[in-house]
Symmetry: C2
């Protein structure tokens, strides 16, 4: 059984953390069913679960494969060092589980198209009142 752990930075503002959690719920319900039986949110700091805790939760739910995806827009220290370190730690604790690290969100080629769709969709929404 495959799990997807979407790892965000984590915020002092709980609504921002909940936004990531809700995205994961939506992913699990609407989209990921075929590929990922489990979709969970994890956080680098300021919120729970941590990356190793989130991976642990996926395993306890029955996952034997976990894909960790950095919900980050740039390839900074968090995406390039801190998250890989958390993944490595979990791999050592669970050598029998395949733990993959996906590219960070900002590296997705589809980001450009998504931005353009948002930009095109907004015209007229606030133009007459702004």
């Amino acid at each position: 059984m495959k799990a997807l752990l979407v790892v965000a930075h984590g915020s002092r503002r709980s609504a921002s953390n909940d936004e990531v959690r809700m995205l994961c719920e939506r992913l699990q319900e609407e989209k990921a069913g075929k590929e990922f039986a489990i979709v969970r949110a994890g956080f680098l700091e300021l919120a729970e679960p941590s990356i190793p805790e989130g991976i642990e939760q996926c395993i306890q739910l029955g996952a034997d494969q976990v894909v960790v995806l950095p919900y980050f827009l740039s390839a900074g220290r968090h995406a390039s060092e801190d998250i890989p370190a958390g993944v490595e730690k979990a791999r050592k604790s669970h050598p029998h589980i395949a733990i993959h690290l996906a590219p960070y969100l900002g590296s997705a080629p589809g980001i450009a198209g998504l931005l353009l769709a948002l930009a095109e969709g907004c015209e007229g929404d606030d133009g007459s009142t702004g």
Copy 2:
């Protein structure tokens, strides 16, 4: 002539700012040509141009419509207050220019599909070596 200003937070790490600038260049070259003649990056802090400066640049390049798009993943204070404040400031300086504020990136319905595509694509990439 329409312009798109993609507004990121800005980072002390110049490579992260350049990543946004390169995304905008790519957008202008590959995708946006039809809709947006000008695509530029702007920053809330720690990098230049600021939002009003970025809008100013677009206008000087000939834009009479500017769409400002927050390159943010959550609806925090930056996306909900600081960026709208920068846009409002620019509207007052340029009452003859239509300045639209697009939804922030994280609110795009397509984010879920993008995450799933990244997650599905990565399996096997590091599973055998990790």
